[in-house]
Amino acid sequence: MGSVGVGKTSLVERLVYQRFSPEYLSSIGVRVDKKSLELDDCKVNLLIWDIAGEFMTHKVYQKYLRGAAAVVCVFDVTREQSFLAIKSLISEISNEQINPIIYIIGNKIDLVKNKAEFNYLFLDESNVDMLTSAKDGEKVEEAFQFLSKILASNSPNLRRV
């Protein structure tokens, strides 16, 4: 989840299909993709629900949270507003009767690399789990690997391979 234009679909495209399109096309509704990741001692099948950014303001997303093992919250590191939106979303999720793992990704790190443009300081205040670039592929696989490890260690019904 995350505000419009933060790169949610691009992250999924990079993770699942190893591709990136510079052309921005808004997501409508929901797109679902699957990805299998091999961990040290198990294989995790991720079913990733890519929910359109505009749903952030409609509370439509709530029904998708039921049954979700984790919510990946994505923000654009160049747009502080998108980070504030994530903070507010996390607070809303905490008020629901659900308890998924919240995993925070700061995307578009390629735009600030080697530049002193990124107000990195909010990283310190919050627990941003990974900074990624869907464009370059930087840390995308690692982000979901890391999430998978958290999920695997939290799953009582884990089927070990």
Binding site: S26, V30, D33, Y120
Partner: protein
């Protein structure tokens, strides 16, 4: 055209039957082939009540939008299917909607940026208001005192009390010094708030800078600096900026010391995303109110210990501006009588990778060899000689020529006498131009040269040197194609920076 499809699915998720045209019955697929959310058909979802708003699917390379609904049905003994998935095809409608949504979202993102810019502008306006208020107050006070002293001097003169005059003059001088220091502080602040990080390649050894400040600083004998910063830490920061930063922090420690001496420990640690510089002293500490307001323009610390040292409420505000210029953050902690801790965080991309930097530097010097003929335009022969020596100290083997003013330089370039022999006076590919010279100064030369620049079939670069404030000079010459500005005097470091940019 039919827009609703049905998929009859068994308990294992296998599609038994469908009227969807994209379905290849021979594949005998699992429903998850088309709809990945059913990958773990029996356990993933509350399947009997599954309903979605809009689902975007890519099927055989085509994009579809469906509204999906699934419900269980009674087991059919013959066909053995358990679920019906209804897929309402809304592709045509939603392809258009997606285009509109994309345009709308792009505008929303732009609006977000604009809103952020507005907030910044509002804060600038607030700052300017406070600035004007504090200035009018802080300048008026010493001026009023000076005026009073002046009146008293008049009285003393008329009453021939000459001893009083000396004392009054000394008191007035203190106020004048105060004003002078305020103006200096404001000038530094003005430089910082108006300056763009024009020279992000400047490299600074932080540890050396701290040692230098400890020697230079006013009342340095009252300072015991424990510099724990690694000696090999080089940062991509400007020396002047960070001199101001640490000079302010250290002089505050001296100002707010407990006894005759203050211990200041400066430690620098590299964290995951930033460099943290912690400056800790054992002074009088800081009140909660001062912590909140420490970085506000015009705020003066309440625990001021030394009456003879003035506080203008500008120093830490300037420091904060500098740190923010580098996208960093500064904070202040401490309690009364327990010393003060100032913490600075800077993006860790400011750390210079020494090896990469040296390779780059060497490459740039190699490239710099393309400068073959350099013309110095300066009325001081000594300056021309020193500048030439600095070039030579970097092993740059160029030919050097010099003229005394802009008018001579024009003659040189146009091949007028005595510069009419091109073998003796070749067209330079670099001009080092002083801004202030008799006859024709650097600005006038730059303007005149900009009109004839096209005549030359080589690209002549101009570096302008000046001891005047650069900002005004840049404004005055903005249309004349100056390639680089260098604050006088030229140094090896400044020349290296220039070569990196050119």
């Amino acid at each position: 055209m039919k827009k609703n499809y049905e998929f009859l699915i068994n308990q294992d998720g296998k599609i038994l039957k469908t009227d969807a045209p994209f379905f290849d019955a021979s594949i005998n697929e699992n429903v998850a082939f088309y709809f990945p959310m059913f990958i773990d058909f029996n356990v993933t979802l509350d399947i009997e009540n599954f309903e979605m708003d809009i689902y975007e699917a890519s099927i055989n390379g085509e994009k579809y939008f469906f509204k999906l609904k699934i419900h269980s049905i009674n087991r059919n003994a013959k066909n053995v299917y358990d679920f019906v998935l209804e897929a309402e095809d809304l592709t045509e409608e939603y392809i258009d909607k997606q285009k509109h949504q994309t345009a709308y979202n792009k505008i929303s993102i732009k609006n977000e940026y604009l809103r952020e810019t507005n907030v910044k502008l509002d804060s600038q306006i607030d700052y300017l208001r406070t600035f004007a208020f504090v200035l009018s107050h802080d300048f008026r006070e010493p001026l009023a005192v000076i005026k009073s002293f002046h009146d008293l001097v008049d009285n003393a003169l008329s009453e021939k009390r000459y001893d009083d005059i000396t004392e009054l003059n000394q008191l007035a001088k203190k106020q004048i010094d105060l004003l002078d220091q305020m103006v200096s502080s404001l000038l530094k602040l003005q430089q910082v708030t108006s300056e763009i990080l024009s020279n992000s390649d400047s490299q600074l050894n932080l540890s050396h800078l701290l040692d230098k400040i400890a020697k230079d600083i006013y009342e340095s004998e009252k300072l015991q600096l424990h510099n724990q910063v690694a000696d090999d830490l080089i940062l991509n920061i400007d020396e002047t900026h960070f001199y101001v930063v640490f000079q302010n922090i250290i002089s505050n420690a001296i100002k707010y010391r407990k006894g005759d001496l203050v211990d200041v420990e400066i430690v620098c640690k590299q964290k995951d995303h930033f460099i943290e510089i912690v400056c800790k002293d054992n002074g009088v500490g800081i009140t909660d109110e001062d912590k909140r307001k420490a970085f506000q323009f015009g705020h003066k610390g309440s625990m001021h210990n030394q009456d003879e040292i003035a506080s203008y409420g500008i120093g830490l505000f300037t420091v904060k501006n500098i740190i923010e210029l580098y996208k960093g953050q500064i904070g202040i902690e401490g309690n009364k009588d327990e010393g003060t801790i100032v913490t600075i965080r800077l993006p860790n991309n400011l750390i210079v990778d020494q090896m990469a930097s040296e390779i780059k530097e060497n490459q740039q010097f190699m490239d710099a060899k393309s400068f073959q003929n350099i013309l110095f335009v300066d009325d001081s022969e000594t300056t021309n000689f020193i500048n030439k020596s600095i070039f030579e100290s970097l092993s740059l083997h160029c030919q050097f020529y010099s003229v005394k003013n802009g008018a001579e330089a024009m003659k040189y370039l146009l091949g007028a006498k005595p510069y009419n022999d091109q073998n003796l006076y070749p067209i330079p590919d670099l001009i080092f131009l002083d801004s202030s010279m008799p006859v024709m100064d650097g600005v006038s030369f730059a303007e005149a040269f900009s009109k004839i620049r096209d005549r030359f079939n080589i690209n002549i670069k101009i570096a302008m040197l000046s001891s005047m404030p650069m900002q005004k000079l840049k404004m005055d010459t903005k249309d004349f194609g100056i390639d680089h500005y260098i604050q006088k005097p030229l140094s090896k470091e400044k020349l290296k920076q220039f070569l990196q940019f050119n």
